[in-house]
Amino acid sequence: MTARPHEEGVKAAGLRLRSLASVMLLLVIWESAARSQLAPPVLLPAFTVVAAELGRIIADGSLASDLALSLYRAFTGLALAGACGILLGMLMARSRVVHWLIDPLVAIGFPSPKIAFLPVFILWFGIESLSKILLVAFACVFPVIIGTYSAARAVHRVLVWSAFSLGTTQHALLTRVILPACYPRIFATLRIALPVALITTFTAEMVAGGGGMGATLVYSQRFFESPTVFAYILVMLGIGLLLDAAVHAFARRYLAWAEE
């Protein structure tokens, strides 16, 4: 650490101030553009109007229920992808046969736009939560597999050898050495997968309905209720920021040992 703590604090405060200033500036531009009727109010409602709408949907609980449903779907799917992905990634790292079997599937699956599979999932699992959870899991599992696999392969052999010399059994090696060594990389992968989970959930809801943030968003758009459209977009932005901050805090607390 080269900067003194006092300097670090001042720099962080300055950054936050500048962020606030940028946001304020954008809001001012938005409000004045809307007020001066540059575009019809249906296309660009004023910020104050949107804020009022936001207050309304928070008060009557409709936002809360939509948000809860979407987040439930996104996180369940992500958890499923995490569990399967880590398992598969580890197995692939351990066994050349497993790697040979699964690798082509991953190589094809990774670049393909998983959203194209949405109609298949709807066909098989309906338009309620199950199809969306499984689609999210499908979309997120590929980066997790790849990340886990590369992390497991990257574990330095010297670390494994030291563990053996200190009395680690083959069985204990996985849980005591390989897995902890991979935590930072796996966490980084899950961190990237989180926005994918959210996007997939919202998009699936927008296309297929079945409740949730995306469904209401599209519904509002079709009926030209633009304040609601804007309000929902702002909420999605807010949720994204909040989750990112939470993830950041988690990493700082539990992965402090990781070398960058």
């Binding site: 946001v23 690798d103 393909s112 998983k114 959210l198 998009t203 459209v229």
Partner: protein
């Protein structure tokens, strides 16, 4: 015994062929309900029919046009933004909060907004793709330029590189690997956003086509169309890898270019 790349590629397809054969066998034996999952044979027939007619070619072209345009615009603007952020501290200070903010927003949430503004034509899709590609290109370009080691720039200056030449000859060259990483990510995004747009608010494109077949119960055609999407996305990704591999043949990691 030199590793023959062609043989290696062929060996990698074997698990897929095995899977296909297993699928076909299960289908013929009646183990799979073909209403929900047609056999590979049925899908192949539908695929041949699609490829024979002009339908799928036309729609794929439309989707590729939207994705490609958005990707190109997003890449150009993103590289410029990333460069500016790396070179000017003031610019960086103002833009970073905005960039950080948009990271948290699922870009597909803006599709209904763009549909509200621009209707269901290509502009909606191109805008969504553009915004989605902007961020990874900006961030990666910034990272690539900012990480240029001082010893590199000092050596260049000592060897008589002018200020203007520094940009193109040194900074951009050093950032090239990161730029290509960003391009690969943006390519994936471009497909996802283009198809999402088409599913939510469009009357053409491969996304719309897949959905159309689904809604009309022509599931073998639906699967065939999805297979086309997967194939196109895979080939584009491989093409991108090949291009970046050639452009980066000087880079240390060039030996690893063959992986995934």
């Amino acid at each position: 015994m030199r590793r023959d790349p062609l043989a290696h590629a062929l060996i990698r397809t074997v698990p897929l062929l095995l899977l296909g054969m297993l699928w076909q066998a299960a289908s013929s034996a009646g183990l799979i309900n073909t209403a929900f999952l047609p056999s590979p044979a049925t899908i192949s027939v539908a695929l041949a029919d699609l490829l024979g007619g002009g339908e799928i070619g036309r729609n794929i072209f439309i989707t590729l046009f939207r994705a490609g345009t958005g990707l190109l615009l997003g890449a150009v603007c993103g590289i410029w933004l990333g460069l500016m952020m790396a070179r000017s501290l003031k610019f960086r200070a103002w833009v970073t909060p905005i960039v950080g903010g948009t990271y948290s927003l699922p870009k597909s949430a803006l599709i209904p907004l763009f549909a509200l503004w621009f209707g269901i034509g290509s502009l909606t899709a191109i805008c969504a793709v553009y915004l989605a590609c902007l961020l990874p290109m900006t961030v990666n370009t910034f990272q690539g330029v900012v990480s240029t080691p001082k010893v590199l720039t000092w050596s260049a200056q000592a060897l008589g590189t002018s200020e203007r030449q520094m940009l193109s000859r040194i900074y951009l060259r050093h950032a090239l690997p990161d730029i290509f990483t960003g391009l690969r990510i943006a390519l994936g995004f471009s497909f996802v956003l283009a198809i999402s747009s088409e599913m939510i608010a469009s009357s053409s494109g491969i996304g719309k086509l897949v959905f159309f077949y689904g809604e009309n119960g022509a599931y073998d055609y639906m699967f065939a169309a999805i297979a086309c999407v997967i194939a196109v996305a895979f080939l584009c990704d491989r093409a991108m890898l090949a291009v970046s591999g050639w452009c980066l043949r000087w880079h240390e990691s060039a030996a690893n270019a063959r992986t995934a």
